[in-house]
């Protein structure tokens, strides 16, 4: 019997003594309640991920008398309504040239992995392959990280890698532009710019989406 009494069971024997002993315990329930309330509040209100951002530079406006630069390995991507993407390769040439090259035609593509992604990888194979080689070297510890960054930049800026021009009409959404820029980043295209469309290009586009 004495043992059980020590355990603080429900016996009423020697009640006065035990009552004193119990009073040292504090009821923690309200504190715990409050603790969990605060916990829930902070979990729900805290923002876990800081917003991500994409760094991008826009070109300074060229002097008015300057001709648009000749682009060798170029791809013009034209965005329009309903998330449509058109593109043409190389220089814009609406009439075709004397050597019998056909006039520029707009091709349609999409954001799938078989669409724009494939075209970009094909046209930018030089930079893509170079960077893949460099990445292997970094993995094998043959190359320092900083050197890798510099060489990757050089590969992207090389003449053989792709230059992309992004042009939009007035119905394209911001999302399309970001999607294209994102795709360019994924495909290691280092040279790209968002510029205005020329009037003949716009005419060709309106013809196409009619």
């Amino acid at each position: 019997m004495a043992e059980i009494a020590d355990d603080g069971g429900g016996h009423k024997k020697g009640g006065k003594k035990r009552a004193k002993k119990q009073s040292t315990k504090i009821d923690m329930t309200p504190m715990v309640d409050l603790g969990f309330l605060l916990l829930t509040f902070f979990v729900l209100t805290s923002t876990f991920s800081k917003p991500k951002s994409m760094e991008i530079s826009f070109p300074a406006p060229p002097p008015p008398d300057q001709k648009p630069p000749e682009v060798k390995n170029g791809l013009s991507i034209i965005l329009s309504k309903d998330h449509k993407i058109f593109y043409y390769k190389g220089q814009f040439n609406p009439e075709g040239n004397k050597e019998g090259k056909p006039a520029t035609q707009l091709e349609e593509t999409n954001f799938s992995s078989e669409g724009l992604h494939k075209i970009l990888l094909e046209m930018n194979s030089y930079a893509h392959d170079e960077i893949a080689k460099l990445e292997v070297k970094v993995k094998n510890k043959q190359l320092a990280d900083s050197t890798f960054k510099r060489l990757a930049m050089e590969a992207k800026g090389d003449k053989r890698s792709l230059t992309a021009l992004i042009k939009t009409d007035d119905k394209a959404t911001y999302k399309d532009v970001i999607d294209v820029v994102d795709e360019l980043n994924v495909c290691m295209v280092g040279k790209y710019v968002i510029i205005d469309m020329s009037a003949p290009e716009y005419a060709l586009l309106t013809e196409k989406i009619k």
């Binding site: 605060l38 902070f42 805290s46 923002t47 991008i56 826009f58 399309d176 999607d179 994102d182 994924v186």
Partner: protein, 230 residues
């Protein structure tokens, strides 16, 4: 021989570890939480694979899907100084209390003439504030956005340089970051609206931006399968 009768007392768990953990988490979240000020408008940025986190020290222009521009400065000191300069230029008076309140506000999208009223409103009222047409950005008649950006750029750079020099004079390492220009546009906003804002920046010879995006895969991405037919 003398086993304790288990049915005697109420079954009680030792809650101490749980409570310890709960308070540990509370402390953690309290210390890490950074409170986001309520934005006057919902801007849902498009997703991308970009992994760079947005710098803290920014001059931000948000564009909602109707093309309204909202303007905000992260640094409170620079923000207040910008307001004072704008107040001078546009001859709109702000009381000392309004100026102070403005320092703690998030971005806003009202004409400067309505700004005193907007500042005086409570946070809940601001969401419904009329007319909230965005900061006017008419390069010829009413170039308020340009002026906001211009003064904010001067002020944030000023604050940055002053703090850097102060740290240098005290012989301490300077940890502040250079001010950046951020654009947060809604995914469904037409690109021409964004282009207008970017033109406002490039006219002032500011060419580098941080375009705010959300992380790919995080948000819902509707209409993706629809795009793939073709």
């Amino acid at each position: 021989m003398s086993k304790k009768p288990s049915k005697g007392g109420a079954p009680s768990l030792d809650m101490t570890p749980m409570v310890d953990l709960a308070f540990l988490l509370v402390t953690f979240f309290m210390l890490t939480a950074s409170f986001r000020m309520a934005e006057p408008v919902v801007v849902d940025p498009p997703a991308s694979h970009a992994e760079k986190t947005l710098p803290e020290n920014t001059v931000l222009v948000s564009i909602d899907n109707n093309g309204r521009a909202f303007f905000g400065v992260a640094n409170a000191e620079a923000k207040v100084a910008t307001l004072l300069k704008m107040s001078d230029k546009y001859k709109v008076k702000f009381s000392a209390e309004e100026v102070k309140k403005f320092g703690g506000m998030s971005s806003f999208g009202v004409d400067i003439k309505d700004l005193p009223k907007y500042i005086d409103a409570t946070e809940a009222e601001r969401m419904k504030f009329q007319p909230q047409k965005g900061v006017p950005n008419d390069s010829l008649k009413n170039p308020q956005l340009r002026d906001w950006i211009l003064y904010a750029a001067q002020e944030t750079n000023g604050v940055y340089i002053r703090e850097r020099d102060k740290a240098k004079a005290a012989g301490k390492d300077f940890v502040g970051e250079k001010p950046r220009y951020a654009i947060k546009a809604d995914a469904n906003a037409k690109y021409i609206y964004v282009k207008d804002v970017i033109k406002t920046f490039t006219d002032m010879k500011i060419y580098r931006f941080n375009l705010i995006t959300s992380l790919e895969g995080g948000g819902s991405k509707p209409a993706e399968p629809g795009k793939n037919k073709n």
